[in-house]
């Protein structure tokens, strides 16, 4: 079964929930860190990098001897990665999304594809946990292809936890697509509630079963709980606002290692996510 840990708002505790859930499960599990702009699951899981692969996107290269400057490629490109001037074509690889359309529409077959590196996917062995993480190159703006590459490196048939990036935009969609259930981590604050609403709308649109994890209960107010009740959204777990958890985090330690009694809460969260799938997992 694939479960994803996501949130509308950043900083609510996705990483904390994802790494502790992975540890608390106790059995072989793969954790996919899809927050490729700032992967940080590795701060809590020490291990050996078993594999590293460079991820590339296909980008166009124009053969000037064949190009007759007709402009078909430039008209086709929705992302303006090609510009036609007089008889020649300029290519801007950093704007290219790698769809390959320009190579198909060129009547002269003057365009071939070359590779542009956008990041790496690393597989790290951490005991029962296999961490697969993406790391986007500095300056690259195109996130979803690297997230899809991380997911492509996962072993099928193994219990999988996806640590998604925050928000509700394309990278989040790329991360949660294919998940059997999603846990939306939020905090009981007005900001947490607002962005939870956006994330709920997104998952309903995607038709993925989901529940809510309320982190740092004790701060803020009761409106997140009231919202979940009114919307009929299950609250899968609640974690108290506890200084000891923050202190463990600041040292790069797992909360369930420091406070083993928390393990039961995470195992119940896992069961709750299983329940959302109606036993399909």
């Amino acid at each position: 079964m694939i479960v994803a840990i996501a949130s509308g708002k950043g900083g609510t505790g996705k990483t904390t929930v994802a790494v502790n859930l992975a540890r608390a499960m106790g059995s072989p599990v793969q954790l996919l860190d899809c927050d490729v702009e700032e992967p940080n699951d590795n701060l809590f899981l020490k291990g050996r990098v078993r594999e590293a692969h460079t991820v590339t996107l296909p980008v166009p290269e124009v053969d000037a001897t064949r190009c007759d400057g007709c402009g078909e490629c430039c008209h086709f490109c929705e992302y303006h990665a090609l510009a036609c001037l007089g008889g020649s074509v300029l290519v801007f690889p950093e704007l290219c999304h790698g769809c390959g359309g320009c190579t198909l529409v060129c009547p002269q077959q003057a365009i071939r594809e070359t590779s542009r590196a956008i990041g790496v996917v690393e597989t790290v062995e951490c005991g029962a946990i296999t961490l697969v993480q993406g790391r986007l190159d500095v300056g690259v703006a195109l996130v979803p292809p690297l997230i899809r590459a991380v997911k492509a490196h996962a072993q099928p048939g193994v219990a999988t936890i996806v640590d998604a990036p925050p928000g509700t935009s394309c990278p989040v969609i790329a991360a949660v697509t294919g998940a059997d259930a999603v846990a939306l981590v939020t905090e009981p604050t007005p900001f947490g509630l607002h962005d939870l609403g956006l994330a709920v709308d997104t998952l309903r649109e995607l038709h993925i079963p989901f529940g809510v994890v309320v982190n740092r209960v004790g701060e803020g107010d009761g409106r997140v709980h009231a919202y979940c009740r009114a919307q009929g959204i299950p609250v899968l777990a609640e974690f108290p606002d506890d200084r000891r958890v923050a202190e463990a985090y600041s040292r790069g330690e797992l909360a369930v290692d420091v406070q083993p009694e928390l393990g039961e809460l995470f195992r119940r969260l896992h069961l709750g996510l299983l329940g959302l799938t109606g036993g399909r997992g």
Partner: protein, 120 residues
């Protein structure tokens, strides 16, 4: 010779638009005929990315040889150079004032972009 000036309006006394790729309009002035036309740039104002590249290509298609604008980024500059369009940057208040600066020789041709890329 045709000169393009980025502007938020449609007349000679309209304000200069300091943005290039996402300028609202371009007033294209013919220095010999002393006439002008306005190119609507709405499509690029709303572009997700590549606004500067497409705007520069549009000016090249319009036969523009010189451009006066507020600022110009690296990709737009590359296209403008390839299209042999001379770039001038100005902080003039109006299109007419920018044209006067150009005609009087008060502006020096830009040798490089003066803004960082938005993407990489």
């Amino acid at each position: 010779m045709k000169v393009a000036i980025s502007t938020t309006g449609q007349t000679l006394d309209a304000p200069l638009d300091p943005r290039f790729g996402r300028a609202r309009n371009f007033l294209v002035y013919d220095l010999e005929q002393k006439t002008f036309q306005v190119i609507d740039n709405t499509e690029n104002v709303n572009a997700a990315q590549g606004a500067g590249v497409q705007t520069a290509a549009a000016l090249a298609r319009a036969g523009v040889k010189s451009l006066v604008t507020g600022h110009c980024g690296p990709k737009a500059f590359e296209v403008l150079v390839a299209a042999r369009i001379t770039v001038y940057t100005s902080d003039a208040a109006t299109v007419a004032a920018a044209l006067e600066q150009l005609r009087s020789g008060a502006l020096a041709a830009a040798q490089s972009p003066d803004r960082e890329s938005h993407w990489a």
